[in-house]
Symmetry: D2
Subunit: 334 residues, 4 copies
């Protein structure tokens, strides 16, 4: 159960509501976000709304049967719109494209990408400066200095930045240089990281775990929301299955299912979803038609020379074609 | 290696070619289909085409590195078109819709469906008369009598029939009453059934195994082709994964991958692919955009009363809407 | 619900019981096996045993909540013992070893194996004469002639035969030459084959599907039992997962779970379960300790020359060592 | 390639070796652990050992083809033995049992468990004070205070502690109160955590990821080793598959495969591996026979009242029986 509290409700009123719920054998958690104040009540027994509906400080009450509460569409029927500023929005009818290299490689690489984005009127650039690598001997990214350089060039060109944060200590370091934090597939259930991201007022895009369930992804989002941050996006990036003809099995089903279960925007990552350069396009198109609020994909001016993920990275010519096709598709859809 | 033989090549010439290949340490299999005559050569050692290129009776030679040969796109670059007669075609730019109930239930059920199809200018009706059921105590279909009734009504209304064949003994019984045989997901590797279907001159749509790989699906098609029947279609219907929010995980990746690897038409079955009535539409749309040559889906005038699969079956209103959307999408694509 | 009928109950009595159940809104199926006569009642509503307990012809009534009925341990608490004759038994404390080549290759291969078995006092030989192969161009087994030769040599040496049957038409051909039919992992849900095997009075060992669930395996056994044949064994042979370090993932959990859910003997196939020759032993030992009633494994005097599955086949020296270890383990267990 | 350096090799010598390797187009990483000093050389081209074998400061050179190097059995053939002090050892013939509750619940719960362990001569107690929970509203453990209390009671009774560390900041806090750190299945690829654990001189037991591959587990161990800590253990705890009859699918195959690939001890966790209280025993026994160096399992005096995981937790009576059976099994094995 979600109890929406009136803004600026004082502690006295709050604790009286908590007392009342306790007396009804409900365990409560108080959630204060950048937008609102909530009491989450969890308990087995049936709830009679009349018992507390009259209490002072309560704005509204929603009975949510899902295990996750705040990210559920059952209480918030209108889709959440993520606003990155400068009229860059995602969700609720705002379809967003995000593109860039797997790893940020340096000034030339950044500027090449920025120019591609500007030429296509794309406002958000993706790229990694901290790379989770299965081998400790592999390239692990340019780190914070790379991010600062990227941020400076992006700002000068009106481009927003989304980049992966791998650990708690990086949140503060990255905070001023990203417009959106990304939680990678290996950290979807890194609960301490999720808790901390609840304490910042920046959008967070959470990728589905490498073999995470749809339900686990929603619970991970619940962690950040209940930590205090409502500005969330969900990302389908393919799951691990027995099929090895593709890098991952892109779960197209997850898009309509997530849209039904949650009010949060759903982004598709076809690059990791199939992992085969020639087929990133069809999966991106399919995701858009299936209801995704945005597409994030990897592009590089010379994929064969990319520091990582070249086999699934589009060159700029391929990127231009895909972007054009997606634009046509959306124009038709509307 | 595939050696295309000239039509009407006589046994003497044939065996001389086989001798030559044997001398080159190649194991050969002779394949005679309704359209052509081939020698499949399998062997480890590199092949020097000049050694046999000159031989009498040889039309063309193709070196195919895939384990499957005849279904590979490496030797037959033009997409295969399946012609059901009366100008009903699938593949090579001919997009086909196939719809109907999970199980054929009787005359009223058949006529309701036929009328829906006619109203939407759909030429192919799907339905089961032999149902594979996990429990021996469940309804197993109307059998051959149901098929005969269905066939009579379909013929009267210019509708083609696709229906599942479960065992060798059913092939002959069903032969005159279906326009296309379907091999179900539980029989994808029923090699005796595939062998026998190679001996008929009717199109065969092979569904991917419940947890079959893309490679296994192509090998199953190779069985039928090498048995003598080139008229084949492949069908993606979702695979079994750990994710239980949907009945299966529809492998959208499989569509572009199959289209790249094989010259055969690829059909999508979103009904089994997601198994949730409300979400069949988005998966169908996604499949079309990803490159499917057709969509097969379940529809029933009263899904809640359907003998089977009601939870994933569209009612006629939903079916009409989906068909309209797919038409718009394809018109845009062209 | 399972209603055990008295032996030799006549049709009149039977139909009166069926009438009574029908009036209670139960759907009934009559099952007549080599050992007994049963009525399987399926229906949603709660059942009051007193309503029919008094009826003539009824020996006993068991309420079984599982979807599968006759193979459930809920009505038959004593483990089923499979008797192959000549005091060769499996289950209920009789631990059985079955060994032999993947494919029967000829007289020498058969005699080599028989001599190994005799030297180790093993009574059951495994081997394939019909091989399901993913490629139509691979060796498919010696067929019925190979089986007849094998049978003659086995009889002369007091060895029992278990071999895979792939299709209905093979049942009659193989019947007199095998002591146990094996249903392979690709045919676990070949329901027509299972139905027919219900009509023979020979033991049938059903392998778990390549990605079959424990529940599906029990349902497949229910098919054969309800077809009239109670002489059944279940076989765990590994399932398909994302892990590729082994051929399959041997599901050791399935052994205690199957033993809890069913009264049928459970056999383990470590050869296919791990698919790595050096590690077949540990998995075999683990299976025995986990409660398996028997082990079936592949052995060949020269695995590197085996027609198939050499990479997972033990040579005779390795086989001798494993058999000795299993004997010690069982002696300790008892 | 692994180049073992002589102890106390000075920087000058080190850099001359690095220069030499660089000239051979090898990328080098210097690894300094509590026991040795290594240079890891990674590069495509074949290596001629004579080119550097003579260099000063080099103790030995091992060509390791695996992607992981230091954890590979290819250079270190003798099994690693983990010494917790007071003659408590794991690996290399030292079979270890570790038992305790899922979550540490308080003094009574701790003492109950300690008494069980002492009565069975078990030296290592498991328990969580930081619990990764899929829902943010669930109990998350007693935290550091619970650990301190546990540590005090354990010390007084000669019991060693193994407990999960979830994030970098907990390492220092927990350091003095645990004898072994555990990395949980959700953090197997939390590379920052692994890096930091490389900087401590305490044993680290790394659990296989929820759907991690055997190869990924070895790479995760490589992270810690290359960070400076050689005191590592690997733990198989079941993987996520489509099968839902058990909580996870315990991968018994992983035990012999890990033992072959790596010199590190392999621990089995049957509690999470099957997740069904009645069947934890058979899986534990199977693991021991398959070659595990130890078993970690959950036990609680009143499982039905446990704060978490009660359904897979043995009561003390069941624990006593399992321990006795494992002792008998090992005595036989030796």
């Amino acid at each position: 159960m979600i109890i929406q509290l009136e803004n600026g409700v004082n502690g006295e009123v709050l604790s009286s509501v908590e007392q009342e719920l306790k007396s009804l054998k409900y365990k409560t958690t108080h959630v204060k976000t950048q937008y609102g104040s909530y009491l989450i009540g969890t308990g087995k027994r049936q709830f009679d709304i009349r018992k507390i509906g009259h209490l002072k400080g309560i704005k509204d009450i929603h009975v949510v049967s899902d295990d996750y509460k705040l990210v559920s569409a059952k209480w918030k029927v209108n889709p959440t719109v993520i606003d990155l500023g400068d009229d860059v929005k995602i969700g609720g009818g705002h379809f967003a494209l995000m593109a860039g290299p797997c790893s940020i490689e340096g000034e030339e690489n950044i500027m090449d990408t920025i120019n591609l984005l500007k030429a296509n009127d794309i406002k958000i650039m993706r790229g990694g400066v901290y790379k989770p690598r299965s081998s400790p001997y592999s390239f692990r990214g340019l780190g914070i200095d790379g991010l600062k350089l990227w941020h400076q060039l992006a700002r000068e060109n009106g481009i927003k930045i989304v980049s992966e944060v791998m650990q708690v200590s990086q949140i503060e370091a990255m905070h001023d240089y990203v417009d959106m934090f990304q939680v990678g597939a290996r950290n979807t259930q890194n609960y301490n990281l999720l808790d901390e991201l609840g304490r910042v007022d920046k959008p967070v895009m959470i990728k589905r775990g490498i073999s995470g369930t749809i339900d686990e992804l929603l619970h991970s989002a619940e962690y950040v929301f209940s930590g205090g941050n409502e500005r969330l996006l969900l990302c389908e990036r393919g799951i691990r299955t027995y099929e090895k003809a593709s890098r991952n099995t892109f779960d197209i089903n997850a898009i309509p299912i997530l849209k039904e279960k949650s009010h949060l925007p759903v982004i598709a990552d076809p690059s990791h979803g199939i992992g085969i350069r020639d087929h990133v396009g069809p999966v991106a198109m399919a995701s858009a038609v299936a209801g995704a609020d945005g597409i994030i994909f990897e592009t590089h001016c010379r994929p064969e020379e990319a520091f990582s993920d070249g086999q699934q990275t589009l060159d700029f010519n391929e990127a231009n074609q895909l972007i054009e096709k997606l634009r046509v598709l959306n124009s038709m859809a509307n």
